[in-house]
Point group: C2
Chain length 135, copies 2
């Protein structure tokens, strides 16, 4: 059976990304999918999208995502910043305060992630039924 | 800052799932997001959606997702089956052959996942730029 291999990007030696094969093990889009598919990323993007174009403080983000550890929140924010999806602003107060907001690029990620969250929400009852039948 | 807490499902003591809070640590939708957000799930749903309503064999799925181990493919398929997203059919041949296909529910998952894949694909160049600038 033929399989469609159209999506994805492959690493290229210079500046120019080359559209390639999502199924290529070296495809960076796969790494990106792992990052943006993760539950904490999805939750933080949702919270920050709600505040957009406003900012949220670290403590506020932590309160909005109960269950996230300090370390996991720092790490998830670091990845979002590295990927250009979140920007970080340090306010010269005493003590200094740090603020986080979605970049324009990050804001565009909320729409597809919201579609996945909405699917999960809408179909959770059917999935719980399937799990119960499988027991 | 107010945070929208409308999405998600909370566990309920009986058969009836209760719409609840995605940010509740016990929310099963969060567990589901982790599963469906994972790269292999996204890839397998894509491959099976392409074949839909046809079936794919194990070896064919493995070829279509280079880099996936035998164990990871088995485990991902097991989760998809448990969640009612994939069905498994054993063909009484010698040796028996096993076929996998998306259920109707599984087919509906391809659309939101395709939106995330498309976002990742379209924005990978901007993200690679951000990573390069961050170095």
């Amino acid at each position: 059976m033929a399989v469609d291999h159209q999506e994805g990007t492959s690493p290229s030696p210079g500046d120019r990304p080359v559209t390639g094969d999502l199924f290529d093990p070296a495809c960076p889009t796969r790494e990106l999918l792992d990052r943006i598919g993760d539950r904490w990323t999805s939750m933080l993007v949702k919270v920050l999208a709600h505040a957009y174009p406003g900012e949220c403080g670290f403590a506020e983000l932590r309160r909005a995502a109960p269950g996230i550890s300090h370390k996991m929140l720092s790490q998830t924010l670091r990845h979002l910043i590295d990927d250009g999806l979140v920007s970080r602003r340090v306010e010269a107060a005493v003590p200094p305060r740090t603020w986080y907001s979605l970049t324009e690029l990050g804001r565009t990620l909320d729409e597809p992630l919201a579609a996945v969250r909405a699917w999960a929400e809408a179909n959770m009852p059917a999935i719980r039924d399937a799990r119960r039948r499988g027991r």
